[in-house]
């Protein structure tokens, strides 16, 4: 089973993006950082107790699924949309959603476009090998307007094309658009159009068939989410885990009460380790892509359900 392999190896092989600001990129020291990368670190911490015991495998849009299917990586934590066919036909299991996204468009303000429906005849940059390509085709087809796709290989390339005016609009997940816009020389010259033309629930995924491993990833993610809900942060997690507190759910989560860890084949402090690795969901969000970072994303759909968002962890019991 994957869990045993990971334990034996002492390292988690985690597939990540080759480079997407805020979501996953190596820094000057070669240390991987980002929103998706934090999921890898949390899982490694939960399973191995060490958030640095991760082997990051950069994957491209084209190679990611094969890497996972062939067992080269144990977990793919890279902005990947949960779709029916990927879940069933490609034989993967999505462990949940760590970011609710949707495909949007960015255009120069100068064009005076206020709606994606005005883009008739426009030239649109897209990254190949992603669902955005299919959504885009469907969107324009449904609205009976024409466009010219300009396929590009990477986000960096797309950005360069867009800035040079080789395409009128750039479409990708709205989070990516925001992240990209943030790095522009003059962000104010570009608007993100209001239309979100697709649902893009992004989440980590594992191979179909190894349910134990799937559970671990799923519940690690849920633990991060639940931690935010219950106010467990990287700052206070050690303190809370030292002794049982008043909230039984927190106690179960942090392993001071009950045997949840054993049920998924891990140590009892698994969730504590996961949270300690990079903080709870909210902390991860704020640190990597939140409003105080250059990316500057608002929580929006990704707020806790208690705040009117969609982020919702099932109960820990």
């Amino acid at each position: 089973a994957t869990l045993d392999e990971v334990k034996e190896r002492g390292e988690l092989n985690c597939g990540v993006v080759t480079g997407l600001a805020g979501f996953g990129a190596p820094d000057a020291n070669g240390v991987w950082e980002g929103f998706d990368v934090s999921v890898c670190r949390a899982v490694a911490a939960a399973v191995l107790g060490d958030p640095t015991a991760v082997n990051f495998v950069p994957t491209t849009g084209q190679t990611r699924f094969t890497a996972l299917a062939s067992g080269e990586i144990d977990l793919l934590a890279r902005n990947t949309t949960w779709t029916f066919s990927r879940d069933t036909d490609l034989k993967f299991d999505f462990a949940g959603v760590n970011y609710y996204d949707g495909q949007g468009f960015i255009v120069p303000t100068e064009l005076g476009v206020s709606s994606a429906k005005d883009l008739d005849g426009a030239t649109v940059c897209i990254q190949t090998g992603t669902t955005t390509e299919l959504n885009l085709a469907d969107f324009f087809r449904n609205n009976n307007i024409s466009y010219e796709p300009v396929p590009v290989e990477t986000n960096a390339e797309a950005q360069q094309q867009y800035l040079a005016g080789a395409c009128d609009a750039y479409t990708t997940d709205a989070s990516g658009l925001a992240a990209t816009r943030a790095t522009f020389e003059n962000p104010a010259d570009h608007v993100i159009l209001p239309e979100i033309i697709s649902k893009e629930p992004l989440g980590p995924l594992v191979r179909h068939g190894d349910n134990e491993w799937g559970d671990i990833v799923r519940w690690t993610l849920n633990a991060l989410i639940a931690a935010e809900e219950y106010g467990v942060t990287s700052a206070n997690v050690n303190e809370l885990a030292a002794a049982p507190g008043t909230n039984p759910e927190v106690n179960r989560l942090l392993g001071t009460e009950g045997e949840l860890g054993a049920m998924i084949g891990l140590e009892n402090d698994w969730a504590k380790n996961a949270i300690a690795a990079g903080g709870n969901y909210g902390e991860i969000f704020e640190k990597n892509i939140g409003e105080n970072t250059p990316i500057g994303l608002a929580r929006g759909l990704n707020a806790q359900w208690t705040n009117g968002g969609l982020i919702y962890a099932p109960p820990f019991r």
Partner: protein, 438 residues
């Protein structure tokens, strides 16, 4: 019979004429300029056009290059410095990205304190090929050459020394089997055993042996996983490993292609043509997408190793053609003389034919290596972080998002320096061979 003409005078020169200066306009710099730049209207036109092209290219690039900013932490900082120090609208390169990230471009994510290891490995490599390239080196040095792949492997990846040792043992085993069996059972059986035995050993006992040895006498340096490899180091490793590993295979293929044994010949031809007929990038995708399908369920190894395997197969096909050229260039008499002395096929190949054929082939092999080295940039498409891949990663970081030319100029320059010097070397070799020096 000489009905010599009356006017024919016999003539003897009394004093020899001294050497005279050529007429003005036929000497010195003036002559050079006239002959090389302005001889005829077409040439004048060409000269003017060329001068314009050169001026235009330099005028557009040089200010950008030389006004470049070397000290900044991010692109926006660069832009600030530029706006502050230079008049508005001038462009300036932001070389700061290189001073910030050059280690990554060279070594990928290899731990900084261990940079000496790849550097040492390169030195060992250069030392190891010296006896191959320069024939006057002592023959004993070839032992170093034989050992160097294992040493380099160990230096680069680290880990227990016993792993490369136990792999090397396999070769020793094959050789020993051959030596033992050849006189007893004939070369055919001996060679089959010599091939089969190491394979069985590697499959079933090499790993265990290495582990046992490691437990008995742990001797290891820090292990660095393949994921940390990147940049030019990655290009070099893939290129060099490809050439070294493909050489034996390429020689076998070349021999196979020369053979009159129908099936062997056709297998070799088929292999060579199939490999050469399909672009490397397709083979790389095969390595990353398909190789796992072809191996027993559950096997799974490094993407880098898979790439090296594919590159090796790819290079082998090209090397085979180069070596075949070398074999074909040998006169038939060499084969016959070897036969007449009673040398068998393998001995005559090893002692007579291959030493000569390979020597002729070295320029071709160097050229193949240059091609391979350049082609290593294609691994970016399967997610390995070669220099181009790293430039993508660097551009994805928040500091350097949006930078472009500086990285590519740097990468291009480095490639140019490496490839150009190698191609000069192979040219020199070719010239030397043409002079037929022994």
């Amino acid at each position: 019979m000489s009905d010599t003409h009356a006017q024919t005078v016999s003539y003897v020169r009394e004093t020899m004429l001294p050497e005279a200066e050529p007429p003005v306009g036929n000497r010195g710099a003036l002559l050079w300029v006239r002959e090389n730049l302005f001889s005829g209207w077409l040439n004048i036109l060409l000269t003017l056009v060329s001068l314009y092209v050169i001026w235009w290219a330099l005028a557009h690039t040089m200010p950008w290059v030389f006004r470049g900013i070397w000290n900044a932490g991010s692109l926006s900082e660069c832009r600030e410095i530029r706006d502050a120090t230079l008049p508005e609208g001038t462009s300036a390169a932001c070389w700061a990205v290189l001073s910030d990230r050059w280690q990554q471009l060279m070594f990928g994510f290899y731990p900084r304190e261990l940079y000496w290891r790849p550097v040492l490995a390169l030195v060992i490599f250069l030392a190891a090929i010296a006896p191959v390239l320069f024939s006057h080196m002592p023959r004993k040095a070839l032992w170093l050459t034989a050992a160097s792949p294992f040493v380099m492997f160990w230096l680069l990846w680290g880990g227990s020394v016993w792993f490369p040792v136990s792999v090397a043992l396999g070769f020793a085993l094959g050789w020993a089997a051959w030596r033992a069996l050849a006189p007893l059972a004939g070369t055919l059986i001996a060679s089959i055993v010599a091939v089969a035995l190491p394979v069985v050993y590697w499959l079933y006992s090499a790993g265990t042996l290495a582990r046992e040895l490691d437990q008995a006498m742990p001797l290891s340096i820090e292990y660095v996983p393949s994921q940390d490899f990147g940049g030019f180091m990655l290009s070099f490793i893939i290129g060099i490993a490809g050439i070294i590993l493909s050489l034996p295979l390429g020689i076998l293929l070349a021999l196979g292609r020369q053979s009159d044994l129908f099936i062997i010949n056709k297998i070799s031809v088929g292999f060579i043509e199939i490999i050469r007929g399909v672009p490397l990038i397709v083979w790389l995708f095969t390595a990353s997408l398909l190789l796992n399908y072809f191996l027993p369920p559950g096997t799974n190894f490094d993407l880098m190793l898979r790439v090296i395997i594919m590159v090796t197969l790819f290079a082998a096909a090209y090397i085979a053609e180069v070596v075949r050229g070398g074999l074909a260039a040998l006169p038939k008499g060499q084969y016959e003389a070897a036969d007449a002395l009673g040398l068998d096929y393998w001995k005559s190949m090893r002692l007579i034919i291959l030493p000569q054929a390979l020597k002729i082939s070295i320029p071709g092999i160097v050229n193949t290596f240059i091609g391979l080295f350049k082609d290593t940039t294609l691994v970016v498409f399967i997610g390995l972080l070669d220099p181009i891949g790293l430039s993508n990663a660097i551009r994805a970081s928040t500091e350097w998002n949006g930078i472009y030319w500086e990285l590519f100029v740097f990468i291009g320059l480095l490639f140019f320096i490496c490839c150009f010097s190698m191609s000069r070397y192979s040219l020199y070799l070719e010239k030397k061979l043409q002079r037929g020096h022994n």
